[in-house]
């Protein structure tokens, strides 16, 4: 697993960027990366 994974940005539904690591800052996360949306 690449160490840069946590700092890579993802977008919320309004298009705002956050680092991926914010998802596991406060709790354990089950992160499902889907193939595509539909």
């Amino acid at each position: 697993m690449n160490v840069d994974l946590g700092v890579a940005p993802i977008l919320d539904l309004e298009g705002r960027a956050i680092p991926l690591s914010s998802l596991w800052r406060d709790r354990t996360v089950v992160l499902s990366f889907v193939r595509h949306f539909g």
Binding site: L11, T28, H36, F37, G38
Partner: protein, 132 residues
């Protein structure tokens, strides 16, 4: 994964979905499925690459991938127009609070998904450590 959503929450964890289309596509996806889990997207697919998820023609159109697609079709799943990268395979990570990766599954082809049992086992590891 929706089947184990209650168990995930009971373990104090959260299910989060990440896709690779635009935020508009993500919103449409959420509305169509009535998704309750938080949803994000990475149109660059950089997170997919960093997590080691596969991408390519062979992963998508392998014999096993086609068999999975046929089975899904028979069960009534219909793929609408692809919203995102059609060749990108997905995967699943269970990441402990703070960043330790407890479990990783990289889909080897279309239809090859992480096992619910393995996800639950990873979450139990967190609960067990907390209990000690």
């Amino acid at each position: 994964m929706r089947d184990i959503l209650p168990a995930i929450r009971e373990a104090g964890a959260e299910l989060v979905i990440v896709g690779n289309g635009t935020p508009d596509m993500a919103r449409a996806f959420r509305d169509e499925l009535g998704l309750e889990a938080p949803l994000y997207t990475d149109p660059t697919r950089r997170t997919y690459a960093l997590a080691g998820f596969k991408r390519g023609v062979f992963a998508t159109f392998s014999a096993k991938g086609m068999a999975h697609a046929a089975r899904a079709w028979r069960k009534g799943f219909r793929q609408t127009a692809t919203r995102g990268d059609a060749l990108q395979q997905g995967g699943l990570l269970v990441v402990e609070r703070g960043g330790r990766i407890l479990y990783a599954h990289r889909d080897s082809e279309a239809g090859d998904l992480a096992s619910n049992d393995e996800v639950l086992a990873a979450l139990r590891e967190v609960s067990n450590r907390r209990a000690r």
